[in-house]
Symmetry: D3
Subunit: 238 residues, 6 copies
Amino acid sequence: MTRQDGRAFDELRPVTITPNFVKFAEGSCLIQCGDTMVLCCASVEDKVPPHVPEGAGWVTAEYSMLPRANRERSRRDISKLKLSPRSAEIQRLVGRSLRAAVDMNKLGEHTITIDCDVLQGDGGTRTASVTGGFVALSLACRKLVEAGILAEDPIRHFVTGVSAGIVDEQPMLDLQYSEDSRAQVDLNCVMNELGEIIELQGTGEGRAFTAEEQQELVRLCAKGNRELLNIQREILKR
Amino acid sequence: MTRQDGRAFDELRPVTITPNFVKFAEGSCLIQCGDTMVLCCASVEDKVPPHVPEGAGWVTAEYSMLPRANRERSRRDISKLKLSPRSAEIQRLVGRSLRAAVDMNKLGEHTITIDCDVLQGDGGTRTASVTGGFVALSLACRKLVEAGILAEDPIRHFVTGVSAGIVDEQPMLDLQYSEDSRAQVDLNCVMNELGEIIELQGTGEGRAFTAEEQQELVRLCAKGNRELLNIQREILKR
Amino acid sequence: MTRQDGRAFDELRPVTITPNFVKFAEGSCLIQCGDTMVLCCASVEDKVPPHVPEGAGWVTAEYSMLPRANRERSRRDISKLKLSPRSAEIQRLVGRSLRAAVDMNKLGEHTITIDCDVLQGDGGTRTASVTGGFVALSLACRKLVEAGILAEDPIRHFVTGVSAGIVDEQPMLDLQYSEDSRAQVDLNCVMNELGEIIELQGTGEGRAFTAEEQQELVRLCAKGNRELLNIQREILKR
Amino acid sequence: MTRQDGRAFDELRPVTITPNFVKFAEGSCLIQCGDTMVLCCASVEDKVPPHVPEGAGWVTAEYSMLPRANRERSRRDISKLKLSPRSAEIQRLVGRSLRAAVDMNKLGEHTITIDCDVLQGDGGTRTASVTGGFVALSLACRKLVEAGILAEDPIRHFVTGVSAGIVDEQPMLDLQYSEDSRAQVDLNCVMNELGEIIELQGTGEGRAFTAEEQQELVRLCAKGNRELLNIQREILKR
Amino acid sequence: MTRQDGRAFDELRPVTITPNFVKFAEGSCLIQCGDTMVLCCASVEDKVPPHVPEGAGWVTAEYSMLPRANRERSRRDISKLKLSPRSAEIQRLVGRSLRAAVDMNKLGEHTITIDCDVLQGDGGTRTASVTGGFVALSLACRKLVEAGILAEDPIRHFVTGVSAGIVDEQPMLDLQYSEDSRAQVDLNCVMNELGEIIELQGTGEGRAFTAEEQQELVRLCAKGNRELLNIQREILKR
Amino acid sequence: MTRQDGRAFDELRPVTITPNFVKFAEGSCLIQCGDTMVLCCASVEDKVPPHVPEGAGWVTAEYSMLPRANRERSRRDISKLKLSPRSAEIQRLVGRSLRAAVDMNKLGEHTITIDCDVLQGDGGTRTASVTGGFVALSLACRKLVEAGILAEDPIRHFVTGVSAGIVDEQPMLDLQYSEDSRAQVDLNCVMNELGEIIELQGTGEGRAFTAEEQQELVRLCAKGNRELLNIQREILKR
């Protein structure tokens, strides 16, 4: 048995990250993981939300799908007057993941908002948003340093994200939509460059899963995250 | 070093589940885990959302905190015209967890909505909602069987949820708010009666964590879930 | 002819008020009038809305029913993005009633918000909110005095509320839902400890009513309010 | 002591009702009570809301103030995305009052919506909406009979509304804004042509009031309502 | 071939402007163009939106139709929780048109909001809003000068608006609804007293149109605008 | 005097249209006009809105800017719970323009929605949306014919849009943002392949303009539209 697109079970889809895809954002990239395409833009503001300690900064994320990113058109959030609950869940995950990458004291009283807009969705959009969002964030931080606004780069470590799952009883890395939609177990894992876990979300869609299966999926994700890390290093030359 | 309330590191807070706390819902309970109090109500409707296959049923959950469930009053969602993104995230978790407990074909064309309203929040409200929500769901299913509406109880297995975390480098079970608010790592784990995982969510709040630490937290949760399972069995006599 | 539950026509349902039902609110109680259960919480903030004269305080109320408080589940306000117009009407009544109890100059620049959340509704939820809301308000004021924040208790007088109605041409006190739903006339009356009226709302549901009938209903309410006053005095020891 | 505008204490402001002020509505009028101006339009639809028994009709009301109806401009509801709670309260009162005027079985499966839009507000807008709304409703019903859509006029009785209040310890009829804004007690009373009460709302704004005071205010309203009834009869020739 | 109401092709409907129709607004009028009736109110506030340069003022407009202004009742914006997109488009046009009439430096740090509420709509409501809105704006500016708040009248020039269209291949001025609803081309034109264009909007409803046809429609509008200007001069005595 | 980017006054910015930029939409393209980038997607549904005559189809458009499409980040519509009024205005223009291109009877009972999402905005986004939207629409129609769903291509004629304006008293074609933001007059013109006008919108931003100036701007637009038409023909091979 092989995968629909001929990949090995522990193989990522082809990944392309185009930095500075748009020109106004302080940092941006277009990340493509197979057919999944996410535009990630980092915007810097000179203020922070009220809950942030004095002198510290803040990092947050927003996530949205364009109406025709998927096989069927979805109505825009604004036409339903509700942020999609799925988007709410995802942007909280992306925000937590990217916040972990930044030393808030070095960032100072700035807010960086990472907008992740899915132009095309074919599975793995939340982890692509983490991986691409880190590139946009990192480019924005560098610009702040180069402009003399920050004394030091506030990035503490790299952040990448990838999914793994069990399909037809077979654990596999980086599910595309056709696999994801019939997965028995689905797990997303965000890691730093040491392979430590920042966020972990696992769901038994069709059945429960054992602690051993869970560990196997984390191992697959660790492999994928190492490869994504190398792509980030290449792009960011850091 | 001991915990603030004298508990052992692998000890649950006292748990009380009062079944049928309110009388109109098909199933209900008030679950108290220490000072956390959640009212869980299961409501049955004779219709299903459009995406459900013909002949099958559906289970969904809603989660909300009363305005003064916490140390500070929060404005109601309706006064902000936005479902709290945190509530959106939690009710998706509770819904997935409880859906996993039900055989949708045995449920037939009914929707069961589990409303989890937090009267008082002192940490662990999402997992209390899962554990209490299962009791409400289970009581409602029994009523459907007793009323002759269902031929067979659609409950496939028990579902319980509990959290664990690392505080001051010490892994511990069932964090209360004073622990949760300074936890380095926080992990929620929903399991069935075989100790298999249904949902897993781990977050490095203050630092990343290793796969070994993650496994230790899952082991703590497994112990807590076994104890919660016994309390559910007692209440439900099944 | 007697009432469904054997009560005399001028008899209240059994009333229980549990003070301090939740622990974070500055004042709280659970009020039960027969099967009606309302959780009332008073929250104090150190600011007032813009329309309040300098140096004075403010008291306001919010009212909501949990989705399964009634025989049928209702969708949450947030899922309809509209405050229920009935809730809007009721919380204005509760707010006016409780504001009348407080000397705003003695309260100083604080806002007290009384949240009335109906856990179970079996008729008379708005007047139970007034009666229970007063207990929560009074407990919160006492706490402000005990904490030295206020020099003097700002409570000017007690406030209680009860309904009466005409069912099958028979005037009766404190309608439960089964009576309320077929009442010809329905009247709510909020009074102080002198038996003076603070709020009066009467509606001819099935037919118009005479001034004499209206006076008879106010007399019934006066009796009920006297009894509720005694229960408040007992609880509050004032 | 006399009133600001020289009126006797039991005297209405000058009332003008211009029927058919706009031409598309099935019934309409502009009602002016002193400087208060409300445009009332009745619209007929061939359907009823789901809760209405088969074969019966429905009457409902909507109330709104134009942004500059008052001394200060108010933001529109839509710019706040919230129906003003005061409008919610008032339109429920107007709706109940006008529903009481109609035999729903004679109306058949039609909904009549009475839109009451305040062009200028100088006190008494809710009762002017009731009095003017009845004229619009009555004209619409007549049109339905004339068009052969209804066999019989469904109007059961006339409905008028007026306010009274206590200002500087003096009971007086039909408060204008300068009186209303400093009234100690404010009472609205909706009656039929027999002088029976349909809706009664009394509020102690500055102080509580006795049952005797309340009766005196109802007597004043009864006088005012008789005069309004005569104006309606004149306009409607019925 | 003549027009339904006997008008010549280049003839306006009868226009009546009643200044000071309501008394609280700083400036107001009721404008009637045939059966179209719009209430225009100008409200002055002592503040400006953030984007306005220091020392300068701002003029903005809001437009809305009453629910029964038209042949069929429309739901209110607030009941749909959405500003009608048509209203959004129109109020932007009215705002731009009236802003062009005012010297913002002479206005100083004031905002004038022109509320245009359509009481009855029979075609041409947006241009009637411009023409009537200018009268309300102008009256409000005069009041500011008379009150000594402004040193000098900030009105730079008159503003009028009118529509023209092609119906059955015949260009004609000032379409009423019965013409507008079957027009092939519809063009709105806002001009100053020199006959210069401030706003121009043309739409090919049924077919595209040539530059020559477009010029002919502008010429018709210029004639109508000259006549509206004379009516404004008469009313405003300026 | 020359333009900032060296263009002649009657010269378009470089235009690139990438058809099929995303793969799920029935038709799509990315249009770039200088630095303006708009993703246009056409989605087909097998139903029509209620106002459409039986047997006929419908074409509509939605327009939105990504949060960081511009020099400053804008909050998303959903976070303000309001469709931007500017977006409302634009999507009505785009919808009318593209509807004019289609024979609704040949389209049959299908709705085609054109989503125009601005990835980067540097002036002219609304006319780029029309020009790119036509390509997406046309590709979708072709697919419907190729799939045998439609017997005949419902496209009646080409549609292109471009802006012109007067900057420093100089008429010029296709304003970029740095020109647009200080334009005295701004005019958008949508045309078919015969050079006939479908939509025309002109605004005197800084001053009014004469009919002659307006004609000159239409002539400039006509030149630009001819060139855009050639690019569309090239892409669409029709």
